[in-house]
Symmetry: C2
Subunit: 150 residues, 2 copies
DNA sequence: GGTGAAATTCAGCGAGG
DNA sequence: CCTCGCTGAATTTCACC
């Protein structure tokens, strides 16, 4: 991971379909060297996958929602993690500092779906107090990659 | 945007370097038809870009931080949006419902950098009360795409 | 919209410097 | 790490359905 690798990653982040010769021309390397660096970064796990950024609204997920919640005292955090893993609407779920130990980021189509998601989380039996926040607009929107179907 | 488009996007999200012939074989279309659909989705803005998901720790950004803040009463929200747009560490910034109208997601290398980012936001003159939350671990990590250099 | 075939471009590989 | 050549495979375009 030297500076050359970082420049290559920056270019791939902009457009991962760019030809190796183009990238090489921009960073000052031969195409084969660029290819080898990319291959190494994929093997090392620095690059996890080549993917697409999409418009969430075009995929019928216009609503961005954050849930902050506490688990019930008897809940097992490991079981909770497994219960929410793979949920198609949950983009992120972090264990965080502060009074609300869990922060979940969702994308849904309608407000009704927020309640559906909450009920699904509740169904795991771990849900304690919770708080729902809806994004009105985004100054920096973040990258949306659609969920991969199972 | 029919169901065929959605399947193609799902496959591209998994691996955007997959050959058109592979995708066509999985969804039941000729490679040229898949190519045409992708071209249309890019033109329509459904697909924003082809990119790479990376390991944030490998890029020296192991710390995930959320800031919740209120602007000073006299602050101009539009100016605030511009002030934080393009900040290399700010992954997301949303105007949200609730007592803390702004939610910012950051990735940084060290805790010291959290303070640096806060000072930079404060420098815009809009910062009122704020609250910092640090992610301890992630049950669903979310997709990290490195910032594109200007 | 979709197809199949042609034309072009690209990735992938090995040898040599 | 670069160049060169090569080969197979992929993208891209086009006329046609």
């Amino acid at each position: 991971m030297d500076d050359m690798d970082r420049r290559i990653i920056g270019l791939l982040a902009e457009d991962s379909r760019r030809a190796l010769a183009d990238i090489g021309g921009l960073v000052g390397l031969a195409p084969s060297s660029v290819n080898e660096r990319i291959r190494r970064m994929v093997a090392a796990g620095v690059i996890r996958r080549f993917t697409v950024e999409t418009d969430p609204s075009a995929l019928d997920l216009p609503l961005l929602v954050f849930l902050r919640l506490v688990l019930r005292p008897e809940a097992d955090a490991t079981a909770f993690r497994q219960a929410i893993a793979g949920h198609p609407r949950i983009l992120e779920c972090h264990h965080v500092t502060g009074a609300w130990p869990w922060l979940i980021k969702l994308r849904v189509e309608t407000v009704a779906e927020i309640e559906v998601a909450l009920d699904q989380i509740r169904a795991s039996g771990f849900l304690g107090q919770h708080e729902t926040t809806i994004a009105l607009s985004s100054a920096v929107a973040g990258v949306f990659v659609p969920a991969t179907m199972p």
